[in-house]
């Protein structure tokens, strides 16, 4: 590290101590902005996770001819597995279907009818790329054409509703995220300007004595990055703390990725750099 860079780092840190109030305001602003942004991101990601899980769990019920032998059923399973859009095929035998019926409804058809009327079936999960109303319809039609298939049942309306609401959630998400991010950038850059404004006399003197622009900028960029970095770390800790609190009361309701917390700190460093650069533009060449 060159002497000049060491000097800039030292000046940057000393500058923070000198402008204590402005520093405290900047760190608080960064912290609050990033907590809001962090909470928003955690909620958004979890809403998407829940929607995605729900989609994954939606399956096609494929009822097959009651008279097929187990060998024919095995061949049928292979044929369905090779169909486009099929992710997973689960065979449910007549006995398993009866067991499920008993669990679900409490009645025993065997007692009532003297025989098991439930047909064997396949439960088919759909690949993610095909989880659209049109995609599912295509998969269902293709399977329906296979010999030995009696009927394909799925909740078409539910799929359509889920798809419509997912689109709305994504649009609302993008709009809200842009607003929150833009507010955070403006708030942070304006607050960093406050720190720089409080040291404008030093900048003026640097220009007077012949310091070049990069030398003048450096301590303030370091200050901006430090302030925003501290704010970012505090914000990440607070978001993590809130998540731990929720996790304690409602386990597995919300998931949080350590990457998200790291991204928050990285974002804060970028905010600090940009904010200081913008703030400096205003105060350079003012002598």
């Amino acid at each position: 590290m060159s002497l000049n860079l060491l000097y800039s780092a030292r000046e940057g840190i000393i500058g923070l101590k000198r402008a204590r109030m402005a520093t405290a305001i900047t760190i608080s602003t960064v912290t609050i902005s990033l907590i809001l942004l962090g909470i928003f991101m955690v909620l958004t990601l979890n809403v998407h996770r829940i929607v995605s899980n729900f989609r994954d769990q939606m399956a096609l019920e494929v009822f097959i001819d009651n008279s097929l032998s187990s060998e024919e059923i095995r061949l049928l399973e292979d044929q369905i597995t090779q169909e486009e859009g099929v992710a997973e095929v689960l065979f449910i035998s007549k006995e398993e279907a009866l067991e499920r019926f008993r669990e679900e409804f409490g009645d025993d058809p065997l007692e009532l009818l003297g025989e098991n009327p439930l047909p064997p079936s396949f439960q088919i999960k759909i690949q993610q790329a095909w989880q659209t109303p049109e995609g599912i319809e295509d998969v269902a039609k293709n399977i329906e054409r296979i010999r030995g298939i009696d009927e394909v049942v799925y909740h078409q309306n539910l799929f359509r509703m889920l798809d419509r609401y997912s689109r709305i959630i994504i649009i609302v998400d993008i709009v809200l995220f842009s607003i929150v991010l833009l507010s955070a950038i403006l708030l942070v850059s304006n607050t960093l300007r406050l720190t720089i404004y409080s040291q404008r006399k030093t900048i003026q003197i640097m220009e007077l004595v012949g310091a070049n622009q990069s030398f003048i900028r450096r301590p303030y960029l370091i200050q901006g990055i430090l302030q925003a970095g501290v704010g970012g770390c505090i914000a990440s800790l607070v978001v993590w703390g809130i998540w731990r609190g929720i996790e304690f009361r409602f386990p597995h309701l919300i998931e949080i990725s350590p990457l998200l917390l790291l991204a928050s700190v990285f974002l804060s460093l970028l905010l600090g750099f940009w904010g200081s650069l913008l703030g400096l533009k205003r105060f350079l060449n003012t002598t």
Partner: protein, 216 residues
């Protein structure tokens, strides 16, 4: 060394300077005298290249205002020392740090900084107060710190904008004596003042400025 030829300066619709022709030779002590608002400070700002002429030419050593790039300005300022009526010192730092600041800012090495700061502080007679904070100094002493800072980078000319404007009679005399001494060892000084009687005590060439024009 410094050559202003047919310089005009307008700030928006206001004409601040008109048809200024000044030549400052090496080692010269030139005083520009005129009332407040006559354009004295504007003249110094043109030489320091904080502002540029609307018309005419300003040449300071090898630097021509018309061909100046943004990157060249710091290099010119290292060779043109400047002091002001309001000192422009960093009040939260001591004398040593204020003078050293000019050297740090221009990339001078640590060892050389210490040596140079001691030299200039000795020259202005403030070695004994090198670790005193600025607010604890008198006005005259603060101006001496400003002069020491201006001299730190070994400029070829010192611009002094009303350097005694905020000082009492005793401090004024001390500052003028110091400026005479600095000029005596060969450094050119261009000083502005509104007090004509001050200039009479100096071995200086005098120019009168009124309403942006040199009148005598």
């Amino acid at each position: 060394m410094i050559q202003l030829t047919e310089v005009w300066y307008w700030a928006g619709e206001n004409q601040i300077l008109s048809d200024i022709n000044i030549h400052v030779k090496g080692g010269e002590l030139l005083c520009i005298v005129g009332p407040s608002g006559a354009g004295k400070s504007t003249l110094l700002r043109l030489i320091h290249m904080e502002i540029f002429p609307t018309q005419g030419s300003v040449i300071v050593a090898d630097y021509n205002a018309q061909m100046m790039t943004e990157k060249q300005i710091p290099f010119l300022r290292r060779k043109v020392g400047v002091v002001f009526q309001d000192f422009k010192l960093l009040e939260d730092r001591d004398v040593f740090e204020n003078v050293a600041f000019a050297l740090w800012a221009t990339g001078v090495r640590r060892k050389k900084i210490k040596k140079r700061v001691f030299q200039v502080l000795a020259e202005v007679g403030l070695s004994h107060k090198r670790y005193t904070l600025i607010p604890e100094l008198s006005g005259g002493e603060q101006q001496k710190v400003a002069i020491a800072r201006a001299l730190a980078n070994e400029p070829f000319v010192l611009l002094a904008d009303e350097p005694t404007g905020n000082l009492d009679a005793e401090s004024t005399e001390e500052i003028l004596e110091l400026l005479k001494r600095i000029n005596g060892r060969g450094m050119a000084i261009l000083m502005t003042t509104h007090k004509e009687d001050l200039v009479k005590t100096l071995p200086a060439r005098m120019l009168q400025i009124r309403e942006g024009k040199i009148v005598g």
